[in-house]
């Protein structure tokens, strides 16, 4: 048919050519691959990379009428304002606090759950458990928020059985814990998928040999299963550390109430409130940029550290 547009038959030693020339030749030969990639690249360019360029407004006094390029430069004004604002530092504290709680409690939950699911011998039962625990992941936070309000309600919820007087979701003292617990409830089950996938690649011989040597279940989990999934754990942890400054917009926005704003306002909701509800674009963009940059730095550091520790990183 159109055999002319094929791949290159690999030339053993390409003659010395300039990089640009080589690229042009490669482009001509592989133009159909580029054609296939084009729409996806455009989508990423427009919705991921153009906004990255739009970050400059964090250093400008952006006004819609002036446009991004027409607005005047103001240097670090917005950052100075942010860090001298007690509300922002409180928001920053909340964000880090909630993130650390999540890393300490929500992060290990799926690992533990995966180990437990893996130990179930009865295949049908295992499938039923898996299907059930994955379910909440597929429900939106709006719905989960509504469900939580109901189930924790002192008048109709489960807590009414214990005579609770107030919805704990509305009490600042409990709020952060409920954020963590609901995060575990919603995501721990689905989080097991990655670990269970890693576990399936462990050779059964290892377990058999250990059984012959008289190892107990716990010894097998500790000495075979856990080391085998440590690489996966490392990657997941790297990705997780990058989002230490984003506590999850949907969850926080949905669970927040005026009563819990003090302990529950986080960077994502702060940016939304100032930027979109109040229209202070540059101010909010500065807060958002701070969030993104810290995330990038943290991912890089933890990637570097895990690489040093002998694990594969993410790049």
């Amino acid at each position: 048919m159109n055999a002319i547009h094929g791949r290159t038959i690999s030339v053993p030693k390409p003659q010395k050519q300039s990089g640009w020339k080589r690229f042009r030749k490669n482009f001509r030969v592989h133009k159909y691959y580029y054609l296939l990639m084009l729409p996806g690249i455009i989508a990423l360019l427009v919705f991921r990379y153009v906004p990255m360029a739009g970050i400059v407004i964090a250093f400008k006094n952006f006004r819609i009428a002036d446009g991004i390029f027409g607005s005047e430069w103001v240097g670090l004004k917005w950052f100075e304002m942010l860090f001298s604002n007690a509300e922002f530092t409180n928001v920053l504290f909340n964000t880090i606090y909630i993130s650390i709680l999540k890393i300490v409690f929500s992060f290990p939950a799926p690992i533990l759950l995966a180990l437990m699911i893996n130990e179930v011998g009865h295949l049908k039962y295992k499938k039923v458990v898996q299907t059930t625990v994955y379910l909440p992941h597929f429900i939106s936070w709006v719905v989960v928020g509504g469900i939580m309000m109901t189930i924790l309600s002192p008048s109709v919820g489960v807590l009414s059985l214990f005579g609770a007087a107030k919805n704990p979701l509305l009490e600042p003292a409990n709020f952060r814990w409920l954020v963590v617990i609901s995060d575990i409830w919603k995501e721990a089950g689905w989080g097991t998928v990655v670990y269970l996938a890693a576990i399936t690649s462990i050779s059964p011989d290892l377990y058999e040999a250990a059984t012959v040597d008289g190892a107990t279940r716990f010894q097998k989990i500790w000495n075979i299963t856990l080391p085998a999934i440590s690489g996966t754990i490392a990657i997941m942890l790297i990705l997780r550390t990058g989002s230490i400054l984003s506590a999850g917009f949907d969850q926080m926005y949905v669970l927040q109430t005026p009563a819990t704003m003090d302990v529950g306002d986080v960077l994502d909701t702060f940016v939304y409130r100032y930027g979109l509800a109040q229209g202070r674009f540059s101010y909010a963009a500065a807060a958002g940029l701070f969030q993104s940059v810290v995330g990038l730095i943290l991912v890089s550091i933890s990637n570097f550290v895990t690489a040093k520790m002998g694990q594969d990183g993410i790049w």
């Binding site: 991921r48 928020g145 309000m149 109901t150 996938a197 930027g275």
Partner: protein
């Protein structure tokens, strides 16, 4: 070789199975609770004590909820957005991933890095909002669609799958005179149904549950999607409860009915499609 299980082993399995059963109940019960409330009469639902079965069984709450035209508008918008995002998204993700998986394409390494980079750094909410605004897509469902069609994570999953495919098939087709486009659409795509189905389901669920997107980009009620509508109902009912108004509008049962109606599609198809959700993670793995 089968080693007989000792008492300790059996005890371990029983305790493990029991804990998992309890956890499963914890995952399911809140949905059941909402279901019971939604089928209970307004007074009973609000009075409390409905835990295991509906009391004074009635469909009133559902009649009330479905009478509102906006729930159907939101439903239609959600379906429209989810279907288009999934259809276009799967196609574009596969096309991009296929190109990235070709080692002979100059720049495939750079482009792959550019894709991964989007996962670890982003412009943030405000610049993204201004971009969408600049494209004149505010209050347009296409904003939600176009933003969600290609995600870095999905692209990498599919790319890993393509990279692991044996190249003999393509070579044979190439010798038979098929071009890259023909090979992609007629050989690669059909062979990748499993991974594409997984990615498609992920896109569909993400679109169905997307709350932040519509909250930010949709203004008029005609363009609300389901999550936004639910939020409004819950807020409205909460307000009604605190002000003591609309006592007979059945706060708890209305919220329950709205929630049940919105999760029903997911609850119905989920058990049958669950294996596809998982499969993609198995084939693609998280490794970039």
């Amino acid at each position: 070789m089968k080693v007989k299980k000792g008492v300790g082993e059996r005890l371990f399995e029983m305790v493990n199975a029991f804990i998992l059963a309890v956890l499963s109940l914890v995952m399911l019960y809140p949905f059941w609770h909402e279901l019971c409330l939604s089928f209970s009469s307004a007074t009973e639902a609000t009075r409390g004590g409905v835990f295991l079965l509906p009391r004074e069984f009635t469909m009133q709450a559902y009649q009330l909820v479905t009478k509102n035209a906006f729930i159907w508008t939101s439903y239609a918008n959600s379906i429209y957005t989810a279907v288009l995002t999934t259809g276009i998204g799967v196609l574009l993700t596969a096309m991009l991933a296929y190109g990235l998986s070709k080692k002979q394409v100059a720049g495939h390494r750079f482009l792959s890095f550019a894709v991964v980079f989007c996962m670890i750094f982003n412009g943030g909410l405000i610049p993204t909002y201004l971009t969408v605004k600049g494209l004149n897509l505010i209050d347009n469902l296409w904003a939600l669609i176009l933003m969600a069609i290609v995600t870095p994570y999905n692209t990498i999953i599919v790319k890993n799958f393509f990279s692991a495919m044996p190249s003999e098939l393509e070579e044979a087709a190439f010798i038979d005179g098929a071009g890259p486009l023909r090979i992609f659409f007629q050989i690669i795509m059909p062979l990748s149904k499993a991974v594409l189905a997984t990615v498609g389901l992920w896109i569909a669920v993400a679109s169905w549950n997307n709350f932040m997107g519509p909250l930010i980009y949709m203004n008029s009620r005609e363009n609300f999607t389901l999550p936004l509508y639910i939020r409004q109902v819950i807020d409205g009912q909460m307000l009604a409860r605190t002000t003591g108004e609309g006592a007979q509008s059945a706060v708890e049962s209305v919220i329950g009915a709205t929630i049940i109606i919105s999760v029903a599609p997911i609850l119905c198809v989920y058990p049958f499609l669950q294996k596809y959700f998982v499969k993609g993670v198995m084939i693609g793995s998280v490794k970039g």
